[in-house]
């Protein structure tokens, strides 16, 4: 595998960049693996990468129904932040934040991580109280987050309208400076390339159709569109389709799958310096390196696997953006789409073991899984390799819905549910 470097770039330039070669193999499935990961999105590929790198488990297959990174990994709004409220979440998301810092160097693949700051706007007295509570909780936990007055928010993001004459005037903002954005596709590609280098087989266009269990109830492998593949350990990282896959093993999940929409504008010159989110009027946006505004809209209210959604949802978001950023009022939107997000009752993920021996699940990331990709893969790999959860994901069990130890992050999510 070619290692990317300035020297390599110069050497390939001599040959007009014709011989870069493929970044990962297209292997046929072997009859049996030590571990099978279902789903080659960012989380699944990261899990495979850390299984191989940190735990020496290299006889791993990642099975993907479509193409790698083609689900929610390629559909999100690329935002990375860790200003969550509860200690459990702070541990989970801040570990991911630490991994993001030098992930490009680690993977030798430019994931275009840009710590441009994420600013969350407060529009009501309630917002102000909630965000200040977050700022204080984060500060006590050592997570960066600070409070800004409307004027300071305007200084940080000049296009922001802090006038008093709009429907929901800006009353302040919470800013996490080291948060930002990363190129979502590159994260999947970087992990795929990294995992492939350790010998992990990434098998695309291979849909899982069943989970086979041995006489003692434990997992013995998976039925796929390319035949049976054996494995004693199977990790399900299927995002919106988790309920469908887990149903194959007879496990009911506390999940509902909803479309979450996003849209991009026509590309313009750099004009928007950071990420701005507003839960109350429901808008969040950033500008990509290509110049498009990347805009996140809301979830539809009903269960759906349609990867599209109601136009009233995007209209609502664009209304809010036009009021907060009047300079975008004449901007054209290029396209919109939906991703299917699996939402848990407490809006926190489920990462751990299941009632079926050998079957592991990493799901329920809802509307905000991208930011946790490296941390999620890291702790899930630990859980699969050691057969017990990492300290960080230990609270995020499936069993918490029985014991009642919920991690109620509903108020911390960027998207109003």
């Amino acid at each position: 595998m070619t290692r990317f470097s300035f020297w390599e770039l110069a050497r390939k330039a001599v040959n007009a960049h014709q011989d870069w070669g493929h970044q990962w193999r297209k292997p046929d499935p072997k009859p049996e693996y030590d571990v099978i990961i279902i789903g080659a999105g960012g989380h699944g590929l990261a899990t495979a990468y850390y299984l191989a790198k940190e735990h020496g488990v290299t006889n791993v297959a990642v099975l993907e129904k479509g193409w790698l990174g083609g689900g929610n990994t390629g559909r999100n709004t690329t935002i990375v932040r860790s200003n969550y409220l509860w200690e459990e979440s702070e541990g989970l998301y801040d570990q991911a934040m630490d991994l993001w810092q030098d992930l490009s160097q680690e993977l030798n693949y430019n994931i275009m991580y840009s710590a441009r700051g994420v600013m969350m706007l407060a529009h009501t007295v309630h917002d102000v109280q909630v965000f200040k509570r977050h700022v204080h909780a984060n500060r006590l936990a050592g997570v960066q987050n600070e409070w800004l007055t409307p004027e300071e928010a305007k200084a940080y993001c000049p296009p922001l309208n802090i006038g008093k004459n709009i429907r929901y005037p800006v009353m302040g903002a919470a800013l996490q400076r080291k948060a930002g954005v990363a190129r979502h596709d590159a994260v999947a590609w970087g992990y795929a390339r990294g995992a492939d280098q350790y010998g992990v087989d990434i098998i695309q266009n291979c849909a899982v159709t069943g989970i086979r269990r041995a006489a003692d109830g434990s997992v013995s492998g998976v039925e796929t569109s390319r035949g049976f593949i054996g494995a004693k350990k199977v990790g399900v990282v299927a995002a919106g389709h988790t309920s469908v896959v887990m149903d194959m093993a007879g496990v009911r999940m506390p999940l509902e799958s909803n479309p979450l929409q996003a849209l991009v504008s026509e590309p313009v010159k750099p004009c928007f310096p950071c990420v701005v989110m507003s839960n109350t009027v429901h808008a969040y946006l950033s500008q990509s390196d290509k110049g498009e505004l990347v805009i996140g809209a809301g979830t539809d209210q009903y269960v759906s696997y349609s990867q599209t959604g109601g136009l009233q949802i995007t209209t609502h978001t664009v209304d809010a953006i036009c009021e907060l950023f009047p300079m975008f009022r004449r901007m054209r939107m290029l396209r919109n789409w939906g991703g299917i997000v699996d939402v848990t009752p407490d809006r926190s993920p489920i990462i751990g073991k299941t009632p079926v021996p050998g079957l592991f699940v990493n799901c329920g990331w809802g509307t905000g899984g991208f930011k946790a990709t490296p941390g999620s893969g890291h702790v899930f790999a630990h859980t699969i390799a050691r057969d017990e959860p990492h300290r960080i994901n230990a609270p995020f069990t499936l069993d918490r819905f029985r014991t009642g130890r919920l991690i109620d992050e509903a108020a911390a999510a960027a998207v109003a549910h």
Binding site: V244, R252, P254, L255, E256, Y302, V303, S304, Q312, F401
Partner: protein, 101 residues
């Protein structure tokens, strides 16, 4: 946006007049004291979340204000039928077979 037929009003109206009430036919336990933690978790949190036909509750909040049930396909989002609260759940497998033909 979905167009939804309200069986009480007898008319089809846009989705913004309605609230989705989630999966239908999850009955509240008759003897709550007899349930253990796992049964409570099943009642409160576990959902079938199918990729296919789903019976779900809707409420015509900006119309008659009443609840009703509907069977909808979760991939095409098209409604198969609507029926009033209290009526039994249609045979989803039979409806799926009809739909396939």
């Amino acid at each position: 946006m979905l167009l939804i037929h309200c069986p009480w009003c007898g008319i089809e109206r846009p989705e913004i007049e309605f609230r989705c009430g989630g999966e239908a036919h999850i009955d509240r336990p008759g003897q709550p004291g007899d349930l253990d933690d796992r049964q409570w978790a099943d009642f409160l949190y576990m959902r079938s979340n199918p990729k296919g036909l789903l019976a779900e509750r809707w409420r015509h909040v900006h119309g008659c204000g009443r609840f009703f049930n509907a069977v909808r396909h979760t991939v095409s989002d098209s409604f198969v039928c609507v029926y009033k609260t209290g009526e039994p759940c249609p045979d989803l497998e039979a409806l799926a077979r009809e739909g396939a033909q």
